[in-house]
Symmetry: C2
Subunit: 481 residues, 2 copies
Amino acid sequence: MDETPDQKLPKRYEALADEIAASIRSGALRAGDRLPSVRQASAARRVSPSTVFEAYYLLEARGLIAARPRSGYYVTAAQPVAQQRMPEPAQPVGEVQAVAVAERVQQLLGLARERDLAPLGSAFPSPALFPLATLSRALGRAMRVLDPWRTVEDLSPGHEGLRRQIAIRYIGAGFSLDPAELVICNGAMEALNLCLEAVTRPGDLVAVESPCFYGALQALERLGLRAVEVATDPRGGVDLGSLAALLERHPIKACWLMPNFQNPLGSLMPVENKRALVALLRERGVPLIEDDVYGELYFGERRPPPAKAFDEAGLVLHCGSFSKSLAPGYRVGWAAAGRHAQEVARRKLMSSLSAAVPSQEGLAEYLRHGAYDRHLRQLRRTLADGQARALRAIDKHFPPGTRVTRPEGGYFCWVELPPAVDALALHRLALSHRISVAPGALFSADQRFRHHLRINYGHPEGGRTEAALKTLGQLARSLCG
Amino acid sequence: MDETPDQKLPKRYEALADEIAASIRSGALRAGDRLPSVRQASAARRVSPSTVFEAYYLLEARGLIAARPRSGYYVTAAQPVAQQRMPEPAQPVGEVQAVAVAERVQQLLGLARERDLAPLGSAFPSPALFPLATLSRALGRAMRVLDPWRTVEDLSPGHEGLRRQIAIRYIGAGFSLDPAELVICNGAMEALNLCLEAVTRPGDLVAVESPCFYGALQALERLGLRAVEVATDPRGGVDLGSLAALLERHPIKACWLMPNFQNPLGSLMPVENKRALVALLRERGVPLIEDDVYGELYFGERRPPPAKAFDEAGLVLHCGSFSKSLAPGYRVGWAAAGRHAQEVARRKLMSSLSAAVPSQEGLAEYLRHGAYDRHLRQLRRTLADGQARALRAIDKHFPPGTRVTRPEGGYFCWVELPPAVDALALHRLALSHRISVAPGALFSADQRFRHHLRINYGHPEGGRTEAALKTLGQLARSLCG
């Protein structure tokens, strides 16, 4: 076994700040509530006053609390606002649909990569949030000593040490994963595509969320599959009653779902729902393709388990990636495909042989010696702060009647504008102001969600997101008619 | 435009040696022929005697000539032997076939990666032949100065500078390629798969060579396509008369061919045949998927042009890669997909987003500042020598009646054993002697080629290949009955 992964605990003040932030998120502390004085908190917690000071200072920087002169610290107003205005769950009609989204997606997102656009529509968090310099040093070290034979040996299922490191990390999510089940892929996107290929044939029917990650729709389209969209709660994820009814009515061959921090809603399925989902699908013998690329980006106390944690029948094809949490551009993701693991490994070998050796070696080296957990704690905090600031800006600048999700992780929120606002028109208007957004039409096979947007709050640099949201809100107001 | 790629000329003695080697290969110089004396050659060529000495010394090291004391240098016997015993062209019956090879391929090749096996069955040349240290320094340099935004911007179609460098190299093959047509992929394997996807629908019929690269058969299987095998000459590649007849009889939707150094035969289509092939397919509106991964590994004077060089209609989907010529394991290949370029780029984005950024950056940096051409000259010489030695060993040790191809590039030759030798039995027997071979059954949908082997001569270290061929020859003789 390699050295233990970096598990340094957060500093004391950081832990205290995180705890208070969690209370604010859960609603235990509400806007206007006064925090205990530094002296009270110091005594109650048995920490030094300076620890409390530092925690409060951090929370202030994150916009969660504000000091009032000679009065103390108070919870700011941003949080509950959003909570009161959660978008309504979508109620898809349960129709089977052919999928043809690729052109629309390319057209709408093709522009979003231009660097001078404010990237509210981006699919990625800011690359400035990742330890790219440390990673590239790890990459350099690993490649300097690389045994040349490794360049032809590390074929599918991929780098053995890296697979072991990935498996170990799931212990933090409360279950153990067998490294033998893991196949390293060129990012989660390839992993998901291969899993879908492994369990379907052209013409088959696949259940997806509503709204749904456009990448899933593209994959369905590529493989000639049909979609049926399942009602999905902006807070708790896919509705199990609706899913059960659809399974009854239709010959669904697979589900593609994101139980943790769904894209675009940010919804998080309660643990009990995940367990029930796996049981329901097991009963029917329907495989679940689980996209868990945001699982490490939780704002709460600990990593939410994926549905895979409850998979005893090997029917969950779980996919993860380093692209959103550590190493964008390295193109290293994985599938833990249960009883389909061999088939996925074979398809990986047939379709693109293996993931890039430099990327795999660099990541394995970083995970052995790096500070992944420390980086992740910092990243989660930054994203949570980004969310708080974005919600405040939306609250302040968007038209009355706007609703928005308040995810417990990830870097997207889902905005439901007043019905009068045509999101595609807003998208065009925003582009002319050098702001990208992801309009709701991207997230459904039938282009519902006509007055919805997915907003990326993972670009905290220099208040750019808030400025863009202010402009966007004004543009939305101008479209209210 | 970046700095000019490294185009240093070969040293004078290397050029002279290459010229003589070409004369031997072409048959202008035959076994037993005496070379001009050093004095004669020096005068005739206007080079110093020491240049001639060095050239002769090099040719001797390559096994092409031998010194006889007090008599001079003579061409050795290895070359013409093989020429006289070229395998017969296969005559497939032209039946349409479902393809189901994946399990056989995995089973037969799964073992071939164990390091202590003599790798006659390997698909790769020795990793020791590549400038991996120089490459990893280039990778380190590139990553140290990488603008973080590049990690999310270099999505499909891929790194712009790298695409330009790749396009420039085709000038050496006598034509120019538009970088805008290029899509960077995770190796040629992905490029080929995406091209095949782009021009077919499940159930379609695809024409392939006979024998045929098993990777093509696997790709057909993965996509639910059917194969029809075309007679292929071990020397000149696919037979155009047979192909024309099949196009007449069957609704062929695409061809997947390797005009340069075909795997497994090593055949090279004459330039005129390539031109005629493109014209024939254009007439029929049938796209050609061209696998050109060995195109840079020529032993002759200059790079043979790919069929793409004659493509005016945009019907050739040309695929190449650095995996066999420069950077194994980096997983960087490309498709120049003509009129299907946009569709291939879109499919790349949908199925695995982009190739790994570190690999792309490292290769772009190496190509700007490295010595790719110098490396290639060395690599070609090493492979040509390896071939000469392998053919000599086969000539000496294999059973009478053995035939073998003598390719003008690449690192495979195709061996036709006497009909009594069951290649699968020989495969098993060889494994028990820690030698891998690629039995003929891998290279056809209907498992013809029952007494054939593909032999990899790209592992020149320490005479290991020759020793393994000696053992293999003895085992083959023992199976002759």
